[in-house]
Symmetry: C2
Subunit: 702 residues, 2 copies
């Protein structure tokens, strides 16, 4: 952990600047919560009016506060915050939580005030959390610097880091009804200094925290977030809800890749790389967090479902299969053990339907048999109110069996009044319960996903060392911003081992005929222009020209078509290229994402790629496993393995292009966009050809 952040998480003494007697003021709430939190360090209340509060003397001046004190909670009005920070510096306090609002969130004047505070803090070496936040909570230390109305949060093992204070307040209250507690909570506010990335390691270092949840409206430094989250996620799961999906403005882009590579594609690729599990809703995030915090990880994917009624079993099986998980097939031993305790009419196959008469004995023996079966990875126990037993009596019988097992068990405890005590029993034993099988299945799927993640090696980008970065660099340095000419493109990609087909520029029709004869018929003609990005869209491409006459006529045609579509474009002539052998055509592209850097796309190419949207993304440079998964992430990629009458293509060659193109754009951030469309992937063993490539240089993205 960054030592300068230590006072936020393990303060020796805390001063509350702006502690107030007025119960409607935040300064009262902070003083109340801190003194009542059980915090065992020194607590110093500060207010120019002095007096006493919460049975403590209020210091009129921070300078008078005795040692120890290493953290300030600032709840004075916004205009007084710069002065408060100077006072902190003078008193030797180098960490402050600014709870006060009235800064960037209220407009320009507030933003200027926030800038001033940040400047003062930098000068005096003070780390800041906030402003405009609700501060920090640690239920185990314990510590509570918030001003929230009671009840305080229940102690637990789920940490929550949030860009929204209101969501903190809601989650603290809501969690108590969901039966899970919080370990640490950090409300980040305007993040004028400390941001989400900074607190990942400190929060994860807490022994009581078993899982981190993040409410994110963005991240400040993309690559550093990935780096820090990757470190944490090997050890403790991170579940994130990232909102603001539709907020981002569109950037100006000239490639299909650029048009499709929105902010969301980049976040998904970043979370994938960092091992962060992305939730779609708040409830999903905490549903998953509870399971991750409380359950052992499954050693295999097969799920067993144990129920006392058919309908919920069908619901569960549906949900499990919809999430891509297999239902376990049981061993003969397991089947026999269950038959021995169940009525003849029960179904011992998955989902196991014990019938409505099932009580603690039947549930217990069957669950034991399922957990003993090596073909079972995890179990969902379903319990609508059992008609002839209390749900809590069943749960009490099951807790020791679950505790003794190394496999995860989650419950669908269906109802309200009739299952409330059963729910209490499970929660006390840290066994996750959900109201319906669909949510229980979703939790199991997350456990399976996490198990796969921790059993896979940490991703290491595959770097090819037969590349010549300096050669590419020289071409890029010599280029103006904008699209590179075809020769320059060929040199840049060639330096990274991606070969373009032999191609020659012809400036006249006769020139084109001569060049075509040299290359060999049939040939393709493409209009040569740095100003026309989608050449086939404007009739600028002719294919399969078989003799001199058609090449001569074709030259005139593509020039005329291009001129008609782009009257002011620079036309350099026509590129002549020998027609290429057949293959499957895909697109491989890359852009610089403003937040996360080089982002690679793979999928179905052609001119309709933006309509078809059969593409997948990953961050560059790519680990082998991610390139592999990205190729399988589109139908066009899966088809490389062959499909019916489509023969298998040279998937390895396509993979190599993906890795090398990723390495190229990661090495050279001034490549704003590059797109191979199509990459023609020939039959296995015969390689892949970058038929058409466009590359745009921009100093802005460097």
């Amino acid at each position: 952990m960054d030592a300068s952040l230590q006072p936020f998480f393990h303060p020796a003494g805390i001063a509350v600047l702006g502690a107030s007697h007025d119960p409607v003021k935040l300064g009262f709430g902070v003083a109340r919560n801190l003194t009542q939190s059980g915090y065992t360090g020194a607590i110093h209340l500060v207010n120019p009016r002095g007096g006493a509060l919460m049975g403590r003397t209020v210091f009129a001046d921070l300078a008078d506060v005795p040692d120890p004190v290493d953290l300030a909670v600032v709840v004075v009005p916004a205009a007084a915050v710069p002065g408060a920070l100077r006072a902190c510096g003078a008193r030797g306090i180098h960490a402050a939580i600014i709870a006060s609002g009235g800064f960037r969130e209220v407009g320009e004047a507030g933003a200027a005030l926030e800038q001033e505070c940040a400047q003062i803090a930098r000068e005096l070496g003070i780390r800041l959390v906030g402003p405009n936040c609700i501060g920090l909570l640690d239920t185990h230390l314990p510590l509570d610097t918030t001003f929230l109305a009671p009840p305080p949060p229940t102690a637990g093992d789920v940490a929550f880091v949030s860009h929204s204070g209101a969501i903190c307040a809601a989650v603290i209250d809501w969690a108590s009804g969901q039966g899970f507690g919080l370990s640490r909570l950090v409300s980040l506010g305007n993040q004028t200094d400390v941001c989400e990335t900074d607190v990942l390691a400190p929060v994860a270092s807490d022994v009581h925290t078993r899982v981190l949840t993040l409410y994110l409206e963005g991240v400040r430094e993309g690559r550093r977030f990935i780096e820090q989250a990757s470190l944490v996620s090997r050890d403790k799961p991170i579940v994130a809800l990232k909102v603001g999906r539709f907020a981002a403005g569109q950037r100006a882009v000239a490639s299909h890749t650029g048009a499709l590579a929105g902010q969301e594609a980049a976040y998904n690729a970043a979370f994938q790389r960092a091992g962060v599990i992305r939730a779609e809703t708040n409830e999903e995030m905490f549903d998953w967090a509870r399971a991750l915090a409380w359950c052992p990880l499954p050693q295999r994917r097969e799920i067993a479902i144990l129920t006392n009624a058919g309908g919920p079993g069908v619901v569960a099986a549906d949900a499990v299969e919809a999430l891509g998980l297999p239902l376990a097939a049981f061993s003969d031993t397991t089947l026999a053990r269950m038959r021995a305790v169940l009525p003849a009419a029960a179904s011992v196959h998955n989902p196991v339907d014990m019938l409505a008469s099932a009580g603690p004995h039947e549930y217990g023996e069957c669950l034991r048999a399922l957990l003993d079966d090596e073909r079972v990875g995890a179990v969902m126990v379903i319990m609508p109110p059992p008609p002839t037993h209390s749900a809590e009596s069943v749960c009490e019988a099951l807790v020791p069996i679950i505790r003794a097992s190394s496999k995860p068990v989650v419950f669908a405890l269906m109802g309200e009044n009739l299952i409330r005590r059963a729910s209490d029993v499970l929660r006390a034993a840290r066994i996750p319960d959900y109201r319906f099988p669909e949510r229980a299945a979703s939790a199991l799927a997350t456990l399976v996903r996490r198990a796969a993640f921790v059993s896979a090696p940490a991703p290491v980008p595959a770097r090819r060392d037969d590349v010549r970065p300096a050669e590419a660099r020289a071409v890029l340095d010599a280029a103006a911003d904008g699209f590179l000419g075809q020769d320059a493109v060929a040199r840049v990609l060639g330096a990274y081992g991606i070969d373009l087909p032999r191609i020659a520029l012809a400036t006249t029709a006769e020139d084109a005929v001569t060049v075509a004869a040299q290359l060999g018929f049939p040939v393709a003609l493409k209009v040569a222009s740095p100003d026309i990005p989608h050449k086939s869209d404007v009739g600028g491409v002719l294919l399969g020209l078989g003799d001199a006459d058609t090449v001569r006529a074709g030259f005139a045609t593509v020039q005329a078509n291009a001129r008609r579509a782009h009257p002011t474009a620079r036309l350099d002539g026509v590129h002549v290229q020998r027609m290429l052998p057949e293959g499957q055509e895909v697109i491989v592209g890359a852009v610089q994402d403003p937040q996360f850097g080089a982002l690679v796309m793979f999928g179905a190419g052609g001119t309709e790629v933006e309509g078809v949207k059969d593409v997948a993304f990953a961050l560059a440079p790519l680990p082998h496993a991610e390139a592999d998964a990205m190729i399988d992430g589109s139908w066009a990629g899966r088809k490389l393995r062959g499909f019916r009458n489509v023969p298998p293509a040279d998937r390895n060659a396509a993979m190599e292009v993906v890795l090398r193109l990723g390495q190229l754009v990661a090495d050279h951030p001034d490549i704003a966009e590059v797109e191979i469309n199509p990459l023609r992937v020939r039959p296995a063993g015969e390689g892949a050809v970058a038929v058409d490539v466009r590359l745009r240089v921009s100093r802005e993205t460097r």
Copy 2:
């Protein structure tokens, strides 16, 4: 309503056969619930042992029960049920709920017993609900024939019809915690007589029922379900959870359409036609049901979000936009009205962030302004615990404003303890509250969807009257089961106004040359064989043959390729066809779904259709609006309107083929599968050509 079902929903007197003194027996539960339900008709308890129960005399014999009695609840052991039904017949009772289990669900002997009961009931004119069910509930009549443990369900306006008794039990209990009540509940059990379709109209006829929810594991008669559900859904919304998605076995199919047209595609098409809203989870179904039961329908799609904190507003905006709904832009008047009551730092644009200080006044005035704005269709009010006001004080202020408006308002009331009383306030006023904005947004989207449904005219299948069914019928009657020859296919489709290109069969190479010369070069050759479904997969198709020599050689090639791939196939020669003009290529197919009948598919064709899966389905015959929506349901269909350099195609011609092919398969159920792949859709105004068609006849599907 079917008069024979009247006694289930409005019984004059009820006899409980198997009423028991033993509290662990179902017969005790039924007697307890019925007598305690407040049912005002006659209640007769029957048990051979006689005596008294619940303060009533128990009749030893059903024959002794006095009038009125028109409904029996049977809870005797399975083996005694046939006798009980005969006793009902003798007593003149023509409606019975068999709650007892031990029938089809326990195996063959039980199935035989169930058959016997069904036979007796048919002979005696007795309608049956069950067996193996928990019976009926009506909270308003009131009436309770179940044996469920108390507490009984809260009265409300959501009806629930269920194939699972356990889910009934769970939902009754769970609903009490969710703040909504049930009107009628029907547990259908094994459905030996009365099924889900039978009860739709009777349940919907209840004045207290404002929305129907269905838990379905299937439907018994597809077309009748659609018919009945369509009648109900014009008047009252139906939300269905259909499970068993993965249970259906695969049928043997020979077409792409058949391979892709699974049970789920058919159910989705059926629900679409019937106006049934399909939920994916139990919680979603009841989230939506509450909103549909309680809220007026929005007159427009634009959503306003009103919040006291930024984070939840972003979450809400994300969720609303992800569901395809637009955020409202407010009028100047609205903006001014909100500015007048809010602090300067508040944001009056959507989402409206009033800041944490907002209380009853701010919430009230802003909500009033939003509801008055004609650009706003519906409002989501978000409330994490307001720091300086109680949530209930805010809600109390808002209830009259919402009650006075004709626009829907839903709440995201975030928390647990701090919002519980506020939740009670809203629920008492029948205003839906959800814990997080995501679920509130989902409820709003359902209201918008329902509003669109009720404002659209009832779907009427578009039937073309220039078709010649008898001509098609004659060809089909003359055909053996299996694939039809090309001539017969041309006649069948021709009779429905779908023209195939001129095509001729050539049995020798010279014959092919002669025919090609007649049709005009260039031509295509296709192997003619009833045994080879995917001709291009085996090299059985050659395109663009420009002269006699290539046709001659081509004949030998396709014959040899076909022979190599299918050594035992019957080869009739080669079909010769003039090469067709260019166009966009799509697939139009149809199959007979065993449950719902003729099902039409439209989408991206070619040989990879099963991999690409860019297709949509609808039931035939199709209303215009559904054909339109189906075409727009795939990228290939949307592309018919044109995309970048792809010119618009003759979408009307494609639509006409869809409607006519649908009419054909609906008229002739022995057309098991028919597939036009590709249908070449030429530029606007130039029509569409069914390039390749396969049609399989099967008497099984007639």
